[in-house]
């Protein structure tokens, strides 16, 4: 086999067009094949061009409309674009939502991943329960965020959850607050954190666990002292993916955070009052200022979209960095090596 391979170098696998033999030159192919080849190149290149065009266009618009004052001033009620202030509150809103979402999602995702990877085998009951948890996370991952949002609305309008938002005079629970939106955001971040952690745990070689057991450590100590530290970078990747899902979500914020552009606190306990109150995020700020919303201030929308896109690009870079660092440390292919 190897002698044949050295005589006639295989094409395709190693992408050198120069190494191909006479027969594989595209100029001698049939018309249909040449068309497909051209179509494949066109498809690949045009997707890259679209991505580049989006970044360049948003960059151009963003740089022409973004002023430092916009980031550091609060939104104002105004008829014109010049007087409507900046997007300090939406920026803070995005951060609050991210923190709540990650803080709630992390323990859930980590315990699920640890439980399934480390305790999921042995015994029929265990395997059934593990399967249930796995499929529930798959269902959560497949549920559109608009449905998650409307579920959150149904939950937080219960009088049981009245302390998390505010109660209107008639006794109806408003059901919209930072807590409501943030806790639904945690459902967005849950699947990526879970998947990254579980994959990391499953990739840890068995002898590491066995070495810890041989030293007389219990399973849970092994998990805390050996396994979790060794999958730190997987967890970081998962959290980064989760954050980028949270900051990009519009539907949940539109439905669950009320529609005040400013952060309006509810109640009198400092700190908690903001969490119970309403506000906005960068995504809804963009939405409200676009022609689809009420503002009709496209310049503000472009500026905020530019800031949001920079966040997303930065998070993408972080994921890539972690993956590369991990690859060079372990010699394994990084997470999502192909795409």
């Amino acid at each position: 086999m190897s002698t044949f391979a050295s005589q006639a170098p295989p094409t395709g696998g190693a992408p050198h067009s120069s190494g191909r033999g006479r027969r594989s030159s595209p100029m001698s192919w049939r018309w249909g094949d040449r068309l497909v080849l051209a179509a494949a190149w066109t498809a690949g290149i045009s997707l890259c061009v679209i991505a580049a065009a989006i970044v360049l266009y948003m960059g151009y618009r963003g740089i022409s409309y973004l002023r430092p004052g916009l980031i550091f001033s609060r939104p104002q009620v105004s008829a014109g674009q010049s007087g409507s202030g900046g997007f300090l509150d939406p920026l803070l809103g995005t951060m609050i939502l991210t923190v709540i979402g990650i803080v709630l999602a992390l323990p859930l995702a980590l315990s699920a991943a640890v439980w399934i990877a480390e305790y999921g085998q042995g015994g029929r009951a265990r395997e059934t329960l593990a399967r249930i948890v796995e499929s529930s996370i798959e269902v959560v991952a497949g549920t559109p965020d608009i449905v998650i949002a409307i579920f959150g609305f149904a939950v937080f309008q219960l009088s049981l959850f009245a302390p998390f938002s505010f109660t209107a005079e008639g006794g109806g629970v408003y059901g919209r607050s930072f807590i409501a939106a943030g806790s639904m955001m945690s459902l967005l971040a849950l699947p990526p954190v879970y998947a990254a952690t579980r994959d990391g745990l499953q990739a840890v070689p068995a002898h590491q666990r066995e070495a810890a057991f041989a030293l007389g450590k219990t399973r849970i100590t092994t998990i805390r002292r050996v396994l979790l530290p060794s999958v730190r970078s997987n967890i970081a990747t998962g959290v980064t993916l989760g954050i980028s899902r949270i900051i990009g979500s519009t539907a949940i914020v539109l439905l669950l955070l009320g529609s005040t552009l400013r952060i309006e606190a509810q109640g009198s306990i400092p700190g908690i009052d903001v969490l119970r109150g309403t506000g906005s995020s960068l995504t809804t700020y963009i939405y409200e200022n676009s022609p689809a919303g009420e503002g009709g201030a496209p310049q503000k929308a472009y500026a905020a979209a530019f800031v949001l896109l920079i966040f997303v690009l930065a998070l993408n870079l972080v994921v890539e960095r972690i993956g590369r660092a991990q690859a060079s440390a372990t010699g394994l292919a990084p997470v999502g090596a192909v795409l």
Binding site: G12, Y57, F151, I220, I247, L339
Partner: protein
């Protein structure tokens, strides 16, 4: 108590705690289905399952629902939501078919054809395309594509031809499908590429040695081997497209209309509304009893489709899993 927590945990307690926390996720999923179904129940009570059919005047029915007070009569609940379902199926169907073609071609391009240097640029670019938030796609759509299509692509003749039925502004099926395709294609590319690299190169090399040109070899051997992955990619992309709400709400024209293929070219510019975008449109009415039931009904339908699609995705991936463990 603090002392007990600090001392090393016995294994069985740790396992039970972790298990309990994990099972919370399962409870959450059941609660989600339960809550949405309970709130949508009045819609089923008054219409049965026939609310998904056509034959009614959707906008009038929604207006009746919006106007209803706290104790609405049964007649208010009458709803025929076919226009929304048609809009959802139309946008999703066209976008998935279009996106699947592009995704297969560009995955072959990335894995088999592109020189290493091009590939190094193309992969992060396509990954970026997948992570752009939908509101930014919507913003570009509503501020750039819609005015362009409205002013330069649609001819006056086309506007006149349907002016008695609907006004063509540029927002509508065409722009929606184009942006939706760009949004879902990267997801499919990721899955297809992942499968493409697992196919042993010797398979394709064997086909080349038999005299096929490299492209035919890819088509005849590699793509055939990863067929389950291609179907799984299409299923995942369908789920994503079904649930896309904000972008579609921004660029689809915000009008309940059934685009008719018989209109010819104007078909592509006619406005529409999908299930998900309707939820965004009527979000302020969620608390009102009648409209709320309708909106929860749309959400329930989406939830059910997402669930059905994830089961389908699991089933089509089964043969792939078997093949991967063997290879």
């Amino acid at each position: 108590v603090l002392e007990r927590l600090k001392s090393p945990w016995p294994d069985h307690r740790a396992e039970r705690l972790l298990g309990a926390v994990s099972l919370l996720i399962g409870v959450g999923v059941v609660a989600m289905a339960g809550f949405v179904f309970t709130r949508a129940w009045p819609l089923f009570q008054h219409n049965g399952l026939s609310w998904v059919l056509g034959g009614g005047d959707f906008e009038t029915e929604i207006n009746n629902m919006t106007a209803a007070t706290s104790n609405p009569p049964a007649a208010v609940f009458h709803l025929r939501a076919w226009p929304l379902i048609y809009g959802t199926l139309l946008t999703t169907g066209i976008a998935v078919l279009l996106g699947l073609t592009i995704a297969v071609l560009s995955s072959v391009f990335i894995v088999e054809l592109a020189p290493a240097r091009v590939r190094r640029i193309a992969i992060p670019m396509i990954r970026l395309l997948a992570s752009v938030p939908s509101v930014i796609y919507g913003l570009i759509g509503i501020l750039v594509l819609v005015p362009y299509v409205g002013n330069h692509v649609i001819t006056t003749q086309e506007k006149v031809s349907v002016q008695n039925v609907v006004q063509l502004t540029g927002a509508g099926l065409g722009v929606t499908v184009v942006i939706l395709t760009v949004m879902i294609t990267p997801i499919m590319i990721a899955l297809i590429c992942e499968a493409l690299v697992t196919v042993p190169p010797s398979w394709r090399e064997g086909a080349v040695a038999l005299g096929l040109n490299p492209l035919r070899a890819v088509r005849a051997v590699t793509l055939k081997a990863i067929r389950p992955a291609i179907v799984a990619a299409a299923v995942l992309a369908t789920a994503r497209a079904l649930g896309e709400a904000v972008m579609i709400q921004m660029v689809s024209g915000g009008k309940t209309f059934i685009p008719k293929p018989v209109d010819g070219l104007p078909f592509f510019f006619e406005p529409l509304r999908t299930l998900a975008s309707a939820i965004v449109d009527y979000r302020d009415g969620v608390s009102s009893p009648a409209l709320g039931a309708a909106v929860y009904g749309f959400a329930l339908l989406l939830l059910f489709s997402a669930f059905a699609l994830s089961v389908t995705g699991y089933l089509v991936k089964l043969p792939l899993r078997k093949y991967q463990t063997r290879g």
